[in-house]
């Protein structure tokens, strides 16, 4: 039966879950989802618009430009900065694209290194009690140390520049990735593992075909949390240990008492952080769900 054809008789439906899936994909289901999405967008936009209007009115009425620049001024600064058509002299070194690129590369490097270490370790610790008993106390004792506390040590170890910031991002991303992966690997339904073993699955096949796919929803959640944390740490790291990147623009605009530039940097961090999350985690999410047909959390 065509997936988009609505069910005509109860016989078309094999079992309740399949019926739900089909209903979701049916024309009516799609139309309903489209309506819901539209409603969500409209309501969300109204909320955002209301906040922007209140913010604009407050900033202008109470003459708060110096501490709370109005959104129109921030928007204008963002456009001018992105078009390199500055409304005042650009005091922050290279143009904004170079700063954003530096930050992006640091975030991706820290994120990749953290993923390379945290995901396999999480899977091993989640599946092996012996390893867990050795490793867990170390990880749990390091976890409460905030990422920002590693900055002075990172500067001491790696000097000022990229490596120190990447290290701090790595630290910030490692823990959410590790804990989520470990939780995913530990919570796999034992029936799935036993069934795979009954079918003759050996260790590597078991990991590839059962453990990894079953842990994917957790890993994706860990990545989502980790990437958000990465941007927070990038900014903190660049404010203290770097001459480039959006964090250094933010810090320097504060020294210049240019609140509009400061908010422009904050908005750009939010946009780029969101876009990075959509691009990387979103792509991974799509690829893994397509490959292993897993449901995300």
């Amino acid at each position: 039966m065509d997936a988009l054809t609505p069910p005509t008789s109860p016989n078309d439906v094999d079992e309740p879950s399949a019926a739900g899936e089909r209903e979701k994909l049916s024309v009516y289901g799609l139309a309903r989802r489209r309506r819901e999405r539209r409603r969500k967008i409209v309501r969300g936009s109204i909320g955002v618009l209301a906040v922007l209007v209140i913010w604009q009115v407050m900033a202008v009425a109470y003459n708060l430009q110096q501490i709370l620049p109005p959104p129109l001024a921030v928007g204008r600064t963002i456009i001018n900065t992105l078009t390199l058509n500055y409304d005042h002299r650009w005091l922050y070194g290279p143009n904004i694209y170079q700063h954003l690129l530096s930050s992006f590369l640091r975030a991706i490097s820290g994120f990749s290194i953290a993923a390379v270490f945290a995901i396999p370790l999480g899977l091993i610790v989640g599946r092996s009690r012996t390893v867990r008993e050795y490793i867990d106390p170390i990880i749990r004792s390091l976890y409460p140390i905030p990422g920002i506390a590693w900055i002075p040590l990172a500067i001491l170890w790696f000097g000022l520049g990229n490596t120190a910031v990447i290290f701090v991002v790595f630290i910030a991303e490692f823990f959410p990735l590790y804990f989520n992966t470990e939780a995913g690997a530990r919570n796999i339904n034992p029936i799935l593992v036993d069934a795979a073993r009954c079918f003759g699955a050996k260790r590597l096949t078991l990991v590839r075909r059962v453990i990894l796919p079953a842990s994917i929803p957790y890993i994706i959640t860990g990545m989502r949390i980790g990437l958000g944390g990465a941007w927070r740490m990038i900014v903190a790291g660049e404010m203290l240990a770097s001459q480039s990147g959006i964090g250094s623009v933010l810090m320097e605009s504060r020294y210049q008492f240019r609140a509009t530039d400061l908010m422009m940097a904050m908005v750009l961090i939010s946009i780029v952080g969101y876009a990075t999350e959509r691009l990387i985690v979103g792509t991974l999410e799509r690829k893994t769900t397509e490959k292993w047909e897993v449901k995300l959390l």
Binding site: Q66, R89, L156, G159, L160, Q243, Y255, Q256, F257
Partner: protein
């Protein structure tokens, strides 16, 4: 029972009304003073405190400490009305006033005095031993500054512009923003080729053999009569509303100046305690520092010509900003 006559009644009533006001007048006025701490440049406050200068001027000074290198926070607090005076790095006050003028508001702060004239040193790695600055201006050196908005960088920029007719972009140096405490380790480990900063970082580098003092503004290496590197600022609304209190505060600072000038060597332990440095190091550093705080019209103008104009040139300050009256107000000083 004794009879109370009309005169006694009037006198008693007047005394009853006036007594609380007389008592209040005797109470010291509170002044919130923001200072960089631990720091050598703000030691005049500690001298005023220890020598009783504030008490003699009937002031109760509430000290608000800011970490070295965080002048921007101090100036923000002064502007937001949480301080009456602030002493620290220099360029932030004109910067803030400039932003206000750009927004169509009057400048809220004023520089009322200054200290540490020519307190800028260029320390180079021992590997670099040039005879004159022209030999290294074209080299790709990594020079540390506390921030890209540092007063020492502004000062050096002013020196290049006025003495060498050069812009910072025309030289091959890369300026790296590093916290002062990291400058000496960075120089020792070869991460930087030098730094532009003041005391005690300069003395620390020399004592630890991390580098050598190549130029120092105070000895005239960056032009004659160098301007102050530390400024004392206040809020204009406070200066207007409590002019008498503001003047008494400046009087106390001048009393502390006299105490320092009289016996600088005796002040070494006090300076060491305030700055968190060893006495021996402070004694060495004292050769290159002068924490006494006063500013003449000519010195203020020099500051503007040297540092202010370079900041206007760079786009940090609005061209509409004038040194007098938008930045400086020297009327509080008992000169």
């Amino acid at each position: 029972m004794a009879k109370i006559n009309r005169r006694q009644l009037v006198l008693s009533a007047s005394a009853f009304v006036a007594a609380p006001q007389i008592l209040r007048a005797a109470e010291p006025d509170t002044v919130r003073f923001g200072v960089l701490h631990p720091n050598l440049t703000t030691v005049i406050h500690e001298i005023a405190k220890r020598t009783g200068a504030y008490e003699r001027n009937n002031l109760k000074v509430v000290e608000v400490r800011f970490k070295s290198g965080q002048t921007v926070e101090g100036v923000e607090q002064l502007w937001r009305g949480n301080l009456e005076f602030y002493m620290g790095g220099a360029p932030e006050v004109p910067r803030l006033n400039s932003r206000m003028i750009e927004n169509g508001s009057p400048p809220p702060l004023a520089v009322v005095s200054g200290a540490n004239r020519g307190h800028t040193s260029l320390v180079l790695s021992n590997k670099l031993q040039p005879k004159a600055i022209d030999e290294i201006l074209g080299q790709p050196l990594r020079i540390a500054v506390s921030s890209l908005s540092s007063v020492h960088l502004a000062f050096f920029r002013g020196y290049l512009l006025t003495e060498k007719k050069l812009d910072l972009k025309a030289i091959g140096w890369q300026f790296l923003g590093i916290e002062a405490s990291n400058m000496v380790p960075a120089l020792l480990t070869g991460q930087i080729d030098g730094f532009l900063h003041s005391e005690p970082t300069t003395t620390l580098a020399i004592v630890n053999k991390a580098g050598h003092l190549f130029m120092q503004a105070a000895r005239g290496d960056m032009g004659p009569n160098p301007p102050p590197a530390t400024l004392l600022s206040s809020r204009r609304d406070f200066m207007k509303q409590k002019n008498d209190v503001a003047k008494r505060f400046m009087r106390a600072i001048f009393d502390a100046n006299e105490a320092y000038i009289k016996a600088p060597a005796e002040m070494t332990p006090l300076v060491a305690e305030w700055s968190g440095q060893e006495e021996k190091l402070v004694a060495d550093a004292q050769e290159r520092m002068n924490p006494t705080t006063s500013l003449t019209q000519a010195q203020a103008q020099k500051w503007w010509d040297f540092i202010g104009t370079a900041m206007v040139e760079r786009g940090e300050l609005s061209p509409a900003l004038k040194p007098f009256p938008d930045v400086f107000d020297l009327s509080l000083q008992p000169l």
